[in-house]
Symmetry: C2
Subunit: 324 residues, 2 copies
């Protein structure tokens, strides 16, 4: 842990108390002068720290930024978020995480940014990622699965995101198979899983998730929404709290998936689906297009479409449009 993280930990563990400079310096084994420099560094990052002569320091407020120590603080996970890299602006968190994974970063490593200048969606599309209003997070996973099982990772993340959003905000988020998070028929989030693989093993997967949290509709593409736009409250949501809720949910769901496979999350996925039971159009990246009723998500995570002529077709991925 860095010294500044330790100071924050001291403050947070006894929120209402003043902590004397003497006490903190002694506990960290540093000089009063060094402590003062760390306090200044924290203030520059946005932490509001009061200093009262003869009493000491007190933490008055934390910045509304997705900072690593805020995300990691007493995070209740086994794997996810043990290492967190947080950035101001990046091109794409997935690209950074992919490079870290190639260099050997451990499973569960998180990359997060306030803003993405080249946020990525599926199939080379862009993901609008305005500054300090959404969650733009990537996670390095190293599951011992075959490449054709990787689509399940996207579904595990979708279930985790929807659970986290519901618990955190009460908003009834749904999943549009395979990778969209939907609120009130509008897109509030999306997942992009990228992988490095051989034929019979996955070297690693990078799970990227974008959630529009406090983003104003005017900053979003058509058909998109954000948690704040769909909530009754005028207050901003804490992105750090939602990130923590997502990481804790994903940590649990991913562990279940690693133990028992996709079946472990299938029924929950189906219960959160806004696709099942609907008449849909699906277009695949190799140019196939069909219409029919989405009747099931099968044991492998494939969407089952019942065509008008009664035959059923399976899809492992594709763009779904809900028709009626």
């Amino acid at each position: 842990m860095e010294k500044t993280d330790k100071i924050l930990d001291l403050f947070k563990n006894d929120k209402d108390a003043y902590h004397s400079g003497e006490e903190i310096s002694a506990s960290l084994g540093i000089s009063r002068q060094a402590l003062w420099k760390h306090i200044e560094k924290l203030r520059e990052t946005g932490y509001a720290i009061e200093a009262v002569p003869h009493l000491g320091y007190k933490l008055l407020g934390v910045p509304d930024r997705v900072l690593a120590p805020e995300i990691k603080w007493h995070l209740n996970t086994k794997t996810l978020g043990k290492t967190v890299y947080s950035y101001e602006a990046v091109g794409s968190t997935n690209n950074i995480a992919y490079k870290l994974a190639e260099e050997g970063a451990r499973e569960g490593t998180i990359v997060i940014a306030e803003e993405q200048t080249k946020g990525k969606g599926r199939l080379g599309r862009s993901w609008i990622s305005p500054d300090a209003s959404g969650i733009y997070l990537s996670c390095i996973l190293r599951p011992e699965i075959l490449p054709n099982e990787v689509p399940a990772i996207t579904l595990v993340a979708a279930v985790s995101a929807v659970k986290a959003i519901r618990e955190f905000s009460g908003i009834k988020a749904l999943i549009k198979w395979p990778n969209d998070i939907i609120i009130a028929d509008r897109k509030a989030g999306g997942i992009l899983t990228e992988l490095k693989a051989e034929m019979d093993r996955v070297n690693f997967a990078v799970l990227g998730i974008g959630i529009n949290v406090n983003t104003k509709k005017s900053n979003l593409p058509k058909g998109a929404t954000s948690l704040k736009e769909e909530s009754k409250s005028s207050r901003d949501f804490s992105r750090v709290d939602l990130i923590r809720a997502f990481l804790e949910a994903m940590d649990r769901e991913y562990l279940k998936f690693k133990k028992s496979g996709f079946s472990a999350i299938r029924s929950e996925l189906k219960s959160y689906s806004c696709t099942l039971g609907r008449y849909v159009k699906i277009a695949t990246s190799n140019g196939k297009k069909v219409q029919g009723k989405a009747t099931d998500i099968n044991k492998s995570g494939a969407l089952v479409i019942k065509l008008d002529n009664g035959t059923k077709q399976l899809f492992l991925s594709g763009d779904v449009t809900l028709l009626r």
Copy 2:
């Protein structure tokens, strides 16, 4: 083209002639002094260049090295080998090609080395790659296919390698599904395909191939062999010529595959297979093991195993041992 490549081109286009320094310098638009430096550079690389006063220069011999200009010279391909990076010793040609692909290298770019110090096989195994005796080549491909179609790339390369070896040496090489090249029941080559992908598209694939060409048995692992060990000739094979034969074969087969899919190469693959019709043991990377008769390679490239109880199982990858 580099100046040295242009000089080689001049020599090769009229092999028996002496080329005057004046003529070459004029044709390249450089000084006699600069020409002399290029000639020295070529000699250092191993080219035998005679210089006769009043007559000029003549190419007497090319080095037995896998040099880019030798591989590219009048290579009859549409896509493969337009760009060739050749190295002395590298860790792994696949790793270098993967990085180049991430940086945007075009389809067909080749990475080749005299020696690999960390040659890779499937599932993190090593591929013994002693200096100047085998082919260690990686090729960047950008096929517009789904990730689950990528195993076919390995099979396309296997067919191409076997065709090239047969045409080049007359040796009856066979394919042990999915990725081994077999001569007289021993392993003479292998293929490792790695990919970067999303759920519904392949960003790129790196096709790595290793062929034991002139390698002595004492330098090979148990059960392995080389073309030279299996040939009656005591002469070394030209690795450059075999590389060129492979690239030309692969260029044709890959084009067929891109046009018509795996079906375009399926019957040839089956005819070169040493697996079909045999009683085999297959072990998959997720721990599954079965025994039975290998009866077919299906439309997707999967191996069909008929178990003792008569039921059939499909395998997309795995380690096959030929039992009887």
